[in-house]
Symmetry: none
Subunit: 210 residues, 4 copies
Amino acid sequence: MTSTTTAARGRIDKRQAILEAAFDVFARRGYAQACVKEIAEAAKVAKPTVYNHLNDKETLFRQALERAADAVAADAVAALDPLRAPGDDPRAAFLDTARRLLAVFTADRARSLRWLTYAQVGVFPDLVETVTSRTQTRLAESLADRLARLALSGHLHRTDPTTAAEHFLALLTGPLEHRSALGTREVTPAEVEAVAEAGVKVFLRAYGAR
Amino acid sequence: MTSTTTAARGRIDKRQAILEAAFDVFARRGYAQACVKEIAEAAKVAKPTVYNHLNDKETLFRQALERAADAVAADAVAALDPLRAPGDDPRAAFLDTARRLLAVFTADRARSLRWLTYAQVGVFPDLVETVTSRTQTRLAESLADRLARLALSGHLHRTDPTTAAEHFLALLTGPLEHRSALGTREVTPAEVEAVAEAGVKVFLRAYGAR
Amino acid sequence: MTSTTTAARGRIDKRQAILEAAFDVFARRGYAQACVKEIAEAAKVAKPTVYNHLNDKETLFRQALERAADAVAADAVAALDPLRAPGDDPRAAFLDTARRLLAVFTADRARSLRWLTYAQVGVFPDLVETVTSRTQTRLAESLADRLARLALSGHLHRTDPTTAAEHFLALLTGPLEHRSALGTREVTPAEVEAVAEAGVKVFLRAYGAR
Amino acid sequence: MTSTTTAARGRIDKRQAILEAAFDVFARRGYAQACVKEIAEAAKVAKPTVYNHLNDKETLFRQALERAADAVAADAVAALDPLRAPGDDPRAAFLDTARRLLAVFTADRARSLRWLTYAQVGVFPDLVETVTSRTQTRLAESLADRLARLALSGHLHRTDPTTAAEHFLALLTGPLEHRSALGTREVTPAEVEAVAEAGVKVFLRAYGAR
DNA sequence: GATGAATGAGAATTCATTCAT
DNA sequence: CATGAATGAATTCTCATTCAT
């Protein structure tokens, strides 16, 4: 009865488990240093099973990264929610968004994704395209949309929303990357808060109404 | 006497040649995919010679990266020169600096250095420290120094120069990385110019005097 | 009743299909390079079905070869028909037989069978026995029988018919193999005809009456 | 002093040893079943050394076969020597040659070479070309040359020496292959002698002077 | 000090074969 | 009986590293 369902789910589950394990191992070791054997063990599957589901080490890597990229993108875009209905005080909405975005960016998954993507720029350039378009670009565009509405409603100075979005994100991620030394140093919550506040302040001074 | 000198210089030259070749090959292939044989060939030396000069593949990598980091850092810090004596129009000085910095960041060496550093975050975390402290940190601090002087001399609003420096750099590198898709897409000179101008404009609107 | 019959026939058909597919794939790839998956696909069956019908890859190979050997042997022996009632002109009968035999030997199935048998001489020596006894030996003996009758009836010189049969076959297959470079080079019909004629001529000069 | 010589010879020796071991192992196991590890062990070398000298398993196979082919060819051509100066009794010279040729063909190396070549017809067709041209073709042509001279000197009937050569060889190898069941059955010296005598007898009856 | 040759360890990938359905 | 999924065992090949010259 449920047997087919179980079987199908079992297969899907196994695939998911493999991709998850793969992302973890890749994140820990890097693409080349990670070996399929270790991934298989982490996913509690036999090595050939990995090859049955994902033909290549390369495919495995790509799929794992794309999956992570989608998840990160979803989180990041969700972080823009406060800007939907900013109420009277846009500053609070921006600050809220900033905090949420920084939380997403400092989370393990996003950090690992950044590393892995960067690391393979030379080897799989098209993968970088895929990942960045699913994360950075999508996020930047969503943000640009919000900023455009805010400009229309008089909450922001009228300028190119694309550039404004780029700047908002840059003012958050730039200092964060700098302080965390590309994610190798722990950043205290206080520091994160400072980055958020400083970023929002500068952004609003440059782009705020009037 | 001269012979020893010549020999010593020859030895040093060979070492430099190896490190240079190593950086090129690592940049092209990535750490793990690069093989010592290829590096030796690129440096026109026999493989054991590489091992004579640099004990390990790891050592080779570290030294090559540190060497490149020093070069990039020197270029970047030099790009701050216009801010030394900004004259009457700080905007022009900032713009000049911005253009120079972007030129440095888009150059091959800096891009490769970024990739390689990011790529090995998981494997050699301390290397990231070394490289970032020699490049980003040093650059940020030099810039902060300049900004402090400019604030004192009334050319800038008085705020934390460290944060201001972070923001200035972020406003340039963030959009650049975004548009170049981490360096995989070519960025036109016009776009670079646009990034410089937009960044400087926002920076000055937020940090400019008055 | 009918259902059982149908089922049984279906089963047998499937078995035949598998063996046929197996022979094709083995012929194309060789024993070791051929993989069961490919055979299963060629037979339009699932892999485990192959194992249900034929326990082993080895069994599969043996059966496929034996089946092909029987077919080739039947063709070859049939090619001797003209020698049954040679009429007044034995030369014509020999020539006819020679042409038919050469046609059988150059056909794909016989060629593949030869290859595969030879190929596994070291691995399955007894298989060679089985196959050669079903093909070469059987053919040589049938031919010897015919030659004996022809000798009795005065159409041939009286000699050991076994040796004569060997020689007749050798005079055809030897040059054929030589000219086709073991079957890798295409042999034109004209060349085949030349081989047949030269072989028969020499055979009759040596073994013909008087 | 002799050091360089020793080193160079050492390298050459090692290469020869590898090729020899390879041929043995291939002959015993067949191409696909033979594993490089075993070859390396047989040659008393580390596995990578094999790869240093011969890039591929395929290259290894080809070189080993070509080497063996040259050796076999040399032996076979040498077996034709008696035909050079046949004296008054060509029959004796042919018989001598026949015996020698059969000795070459029944020797292990030639048998293995035949197997291996045949076995890979489907996989490396060009290798078959190479090997057969170095052995069969070369032998057939040398023999044809001798036969032409013998025809000119009146010892043989005048016919196409190429065909005659093919027939001579076929009359020897055909029965031999048949009786040895492609080399899997032992053939007694008496049988070999019988094959030689019968072959020569038939050949001379067909091609002898008058 | 520089080099050609050799090696030990390890990794991706493939495949015959077996479960569970 | 037929099949999709899973696995254990092997095998080819690569590479950092070390000798011997």
